[in-house]
């Protein structure tokens, strides 16, 4: 297999931009109409993801050891979308047809067999990983809404129960899908440590124009059904560390940190914990009563609420990163930061500026920005 030739041909094809994935999916759906149901109505994001995945794969095509873990993740992750081994040859055929179409005269038999061989390896790794994953967990979990509590017009706390046990670490998240918004999977963090009854809490904030978040925050009822995918995420608690703990939560970024807090409270000798909980206005501190109850119960826990845009608020005022920075020196703490993009970045900067080593900071970026 000539890796350079693969890369060159892909670079040539990629020049055609969005037309390439458009052609690919149209070809796939024409030959295998049943695969259309595996995708959402709008394919705009999907096309972007496909090109991204192809670009990563092709640039590492001569470096299978780097590529393997990525492909394995991809293979496992595709289970929840309903992808099965039988789909892989169909995808391979459409991929080759697409490449041939855009290469035009540059498409030779050698090139075709190189691409076929490369795809064969990729598919094999993905299918194999999916098959191994099948042995110890379902493709997705069916979940039932046990409780749905609206805390503000755009913030809700849900409790879901899953039928099959779902193992996860506090601080991790799962992707979720509703039959009301088919094929749109979005990530949400569990807000509690694992419970024996397999129920999980989630904090949902409605994003402006967010298809799934608005449904979860406002359209969901007790008894409603959702699907959830395998737990992922690296914002997990370092139980080996002897350091005290700083938790910084912006809005519903609180969820994973609350799970970590619950894990810490189960320890024999908990470290000192400072939890900063910030929102733009006081009614955004949707879980404060519960946090204050915990603070009253645990002498090792300090909870500091802060708001950025309400002059009359009796507690800390200002942007959350500033409040954290001026409230102490955190050099000897393990910091866990979670919330809107800008807030997470700014908090990171403040902590690094204070001299907190980077390896003592773990973050979860919720990907939206505070309005």
């Amino acid at each position: 297999m000539d890796a350079q030739r693969l890369k060159d041909s892909f670079a040539h094809v990629a020049m055609h931009g969005d037309e390439v994935p458009l052609f690919f999916y149209a070809d796939l759906f024409l030959h295998h109409p049943e695969t259309r149901d595996l995708f959402p109505v709008s394919m705009a994001h999907q096309r972007g993801r496909l090109v991204q995945a192809l670009a990563t794969t092709v640039s590492n095509v001569d470096n299978l050891e780097t590529l393997r873990p990525l492909l394995e993740d991809l293979g496992r992750d595709h289970r929840k979308f309903g992808a099965v081994a039988a789909h892989y040859p169909a995808v391979g055929n459409s991929l080759l047809t697409t490449l041939a179409h855009f290469c035009g005269d540059g498409w030779t038999e050698d090139l075709a067999s190189d691409w076929a061989a490369a795809y064969e390896i990729i598919a094999q790794v993905m299918v194999q990983a999916a098959r191994e994953d099948e042995a110890h967990r379902p493709a997705y979990w069916d979940a039932t809404v046990m409780a749905h509590e609206r805390r503000r017009f755009d913030i809700a706390v849900l409790r879901l129960a899953v039928e099959e046990p779902l193992e996860y670490l506090p601080g991790q998240s799962v992707s979720m899908e509703s039959s009301k918004r088919p094929r749109l999977w979005r990530f949400y963090s569990m807000a509690n440590a694992p419970r024996p009854d397999s129920t999980m809490d989630f904090h949902v904030r409605m994003l402006d124009g967010g298809a799934l978040s608005s449904h979860l925050a406002r359209g969901l009822e007790v008894g409603g059904r959702l699907r959830i995918g395998s737990p992922v995420g690296t914002l997990t608690y370092d139980g080996q560390s002897a350091r005290d703990v700083l938790l910084v939560a912006g809005s519903t970024g609180l969820a994973p940190l609350k799970a970590i807090l619950e894990q810490i409270s189960g320890q024999a000798d908990p470290p000192r914990v400072h939890l900063f909980f910030g929102a733009s206005t006081a009614d955004g501190l949707y879980d404060l009563p519960d946090l204050e109850k915990l603070a009253a119960q645990f002498p090792w826990l300090t909870v500091v609420p802060s708001v950025s845009r309400e002059p009359g608020f009796p507690g800390e005022r200002g942007s959350l990163p500033d409040v954290v920075a001026r409230s102490g020196t955190w050099r000897d703490h393990d910091a866990y930061v979670s919330g809107p993009t800008g807030m997470v970045e700014a908090t990171m900067q403040q902590l690094l500026a204070q001299g907190v080593p980077e390896n003592q900071i773990r973050v979860e970026d919720f990907g939206w920005s505070e309005g």
Binding site: L22, D208, G209
Partner: protein, 216 residues
């Protein structure tokens, strides 16, 4: 999505639709967000159109190329490969149209939600400021009424009680008047909001997102 551009990647309509810019730092000038969004929507639409046109041209070039290679008189009717490529193109166009509808709907829902959120914040802040003002005013007037009662020369041991009664009566009068006025103003706001919403809905149906939502 933040604003990054790599020279080896092509810009897609999806990227334009999903682009977000960090807000300008405090004290620095930034562009009006509505206008930037509106322009991005135009750019996205134009990109989709260009891509469609480009795809058609590409097909045409290929068709002509095959015709030249196959010899002039060789082509009678549509060859199966051509038919498939045609089908792919039709499906691609249908998909792009669907994508555009979904993006438009999302955009519209985002604008509505933003507007509602902004109004929610404004109404709350207004209510808070107003409540403080009403309390202060009621207290002042009631104090005056109480003082008047105190200075009444015909008074006796009941003076204190009468003064307090006068204070409370005036206080509740002022408060009630303000509450009534405020509730009426709120109802007025809701009505105006409804009107603004139906007019922006009409604008969206006309295929043009309104560059400016009418302020209440």
């Amino acid at each position: 999505m933040t604003v990054t551009y790599r020279s080896d990647e092509r810009l897609t309509p999806d990227q334009v639709q999903g682009v977000s810019f960090p807000s300008a730092r405090l004290g620095r000038r930034g562009f009006d967000e509505e206008h930037v969004r509106y322009f991005c929507a135009l750019v996205e639409r134009e990109l989709v159109t260009l891509l469609n046109e480009k795809a058609s041209l590409w097909e045409e070039v290929n068709r002509l190329r095959r015709r030249v290679i196959g010899g002039e008189g060789a082509v009678v009717g549509i060859r199966p490969e051509d038919a498939h490529v045609q089908a792919v193109r039709i499906l691609s166009n249908a998909q792009l149209t669907a994508d555009q509808y979904v993006a438009d709907a999302q955009q519209y829902s985002r604008e509505l939600a933003e507007e509602a959120r902004r109004r929610h914040d404004e109404v709350l802040a207004e209510a808070r400021a107003h409540a403080d003002q009403v309390l202060e005013q009621a207290h002042q007037r009631a104090s005056q009424a109480a003082q008047l009662e105190m200075s009444d020369p015909g008074g006796n041991g009941h003076r204190d009680a009468r003064a307090e009664l006068a204070y409370l009566r005036t206080f509740s009068d002022v408060y009630r008047t303000h509450l009534r006025a405020y509730l009426e103003a709120l109802l007025q706001n809701v009505a105006e909001w409804e009107r603004a919403e139906s007019s922006s809905l009409a604008a969206a149906r006309a295929g043009l997102p309104p560059p400016e939502v009418p302020r209440l």
